[in-house]
């Protein structure tokens, strides 16, 4: 089976979790990336969910962040007050994953509306815990499909701030962005291409970005997924619910 771009994204995200301990997990690709990392580069990774589950060890692929299989056999299951207060706001979260409908060059994220807030063209889910995560996690990983509609010059709404002037608090903000085209880091607060996935050209990246994407001088090609990585990953989602 050929390697899908989703598989590339998951494998690449997992690699950046090397050595990480406490990870705030989202459902779908982040969950697969964390589960893969736990089996490869981060054996001590603790899966923490905003639903209040700490140290999950799910016996099946969870289909929501509150899946009952996340609870069974977890280390601890707490109230959301405790999860957001004692873990996230306290500064215990090393890495947290966020998705985005729109992201800008500073890693600020919109998950609230397309168009005007008062009368949106598309009403999106909103923050959930994203704004707290963006401001309190040590490092934020953003997983998003890259296109001129998602990598925009100006967000319709700032749900979760990235590297912007007002940013304060203990969180370090966005650290890594992984898309189907490449991986990005932040240099002085600006998103910067650091590696291109196999077969992807810089022009494809520029065409998929509404602003002039900065490029790291040491930009490299992302290593393709190894056999071991692929086998482990595909065993995590045998029905390819998320690997489609």
């Amino acid at each position: 089976m050929s390697i899908t771009s989703t598989e590339m994204m998951v494998v690449e995200a997992a690699r950046h979790l090397a050595g990480v301990r406490n990870c705030f997990v989202g459902i779908g690709i982040p969950n697969l990336a964390c589960s893969l990392a736990k089996r490869t580069v981060a054996p001590d990774l603790e899966l923490i969910y905003e639903s209040g589950v700490v140290g999950a060890d799910p016996a099946r692929l969870p289909l929501s962040i509150g899946d009952p299989s996340l609870v069974v056999g977890a280390r601890s299951v707490t109230s959301m007050f405790d999860l957001f207060s004692l873990y996230l706001q306290r500064g215990l979260i090393d890495v947290a994953f966020l998705g985005a409908a729109q992201v800008d060059r500073n890693g600020s994220i919109n998950t609230t509306v397309l168009g005007r807030y008062e009368k949106p063209e598309v009403r999106l889910p909103g923050s959930g815990g994203a704004v707290e995560i963006a401001l309190n996690a040590d490092r934020v990983f953003i997983i998003v499909n890259q296109s001129p509609r998602t990598f925009v010059e100006k967000l319709d709404f700032v749900t979760s701030p990235g590297h912007v002037g007002q940013r304060t608090g203990r969180g370090g903000g966005p650290a890594v962005v992984v898309t189907q085209l490449g991986t990005y880091r932040f240099v002085e607060g600006e998103m910067t291409l650091s590696s291109l996935h196999p077969g992807v050209t810089r022009d494809q990246v520029f065409d998929a970005t509404a602003w002039k994407m900065a490029v790291d001088e040491g930009v490299v090609e992302t290593d393709s997924p190894g056999q071991d990585e692929l086998l482990a990953l595909r065993s995590l989602d045998p029905d390819r619910v998320y690997l489609k």
């Binding site: 929501s64 609230t112 598309v122 889910p125 923050s127 401001l135 007002q166």
Partner: protein, 306 residues
Amino acid sequence: MANSKVTSMREAIGSLVPDGSVVSIEGFTHLICFAAGHELIRQRKQDLTLCRLTPDIVADQLAAAGVISGLVFSWLGNPGVGSLHAVRRRIEGSDPRPLHLEEYSHFGMVARYTAGASGLPFFPLRSYRGSDLPRVNPRIVEIDDPYGGEPLYAVPPLNPDVSIVHVQRASAGGDAQVWGIPGCQKESAFAAGRVIVVCEEVVSDEVIRSDPNRTLIPGAIVDAVVVAPGGCHPSYAQGYYDRDNPFYLEWDVISRDSNLIDAWLEEWVYSLDDHAAYRTKLGAERWSALAPGDAFSAPVNYGNYA
């Protein structure tokens, strides 16, 4: 039992949830009380404001049925699937009528319930700085650190008129115990003026009192106890039944077409007397497919000090 608060869903909703009420139905992915939501629809309640971190299918149904005129929330969607199309029609096109939104983040909502449950006039949190949320919701305000540190934000207390809380087991007096994801059920109950506990099963006081640390809500703040096994379907009750994921996918199709929603509401809510009828209509096969195996907690010994 002398102090029994056990009653029917019809009676509890009818007497404790007047039109225009601010109603909290919490349960984070877990213990979402669809049985109460359907009874609100069945009784054709009007102008309710729904407080819920994650308005999901139950909110889409309440919005489509014209029961709710407002939402106080932090995340809006069909979890793991996509959009709430009935809610979106009301927000994006006022179709058939507008839906008022008061929007926070998860921690903001939890902090609002916590302030309301604690008799505090506000709750402080390290959030919102740099976000547009305070711009569109003036109730989210910046406050100073009295000890001279950097400013932070505050949210006001949330005190619903009534909170509907689904739990696994409760005594007839309303002492309620939950395991699995507790979400913010406790805070929403203590914050509310009235509390309806809906349970999978009523148990004896002795069962409750055998494990007092497990009690999430004391009977002292509970007004009614309703027994509604399976009342969280299509969401789940830890140890009792699984989430009915196919239904979440089906709803994505249904909710795109208001005619399909009306037909669904007619078939599954209006034409049924109560949740017991819904449970029967779903059928034994569906329920057995959702039944988990056993995984019991290791007991603890409180000791006999008599």
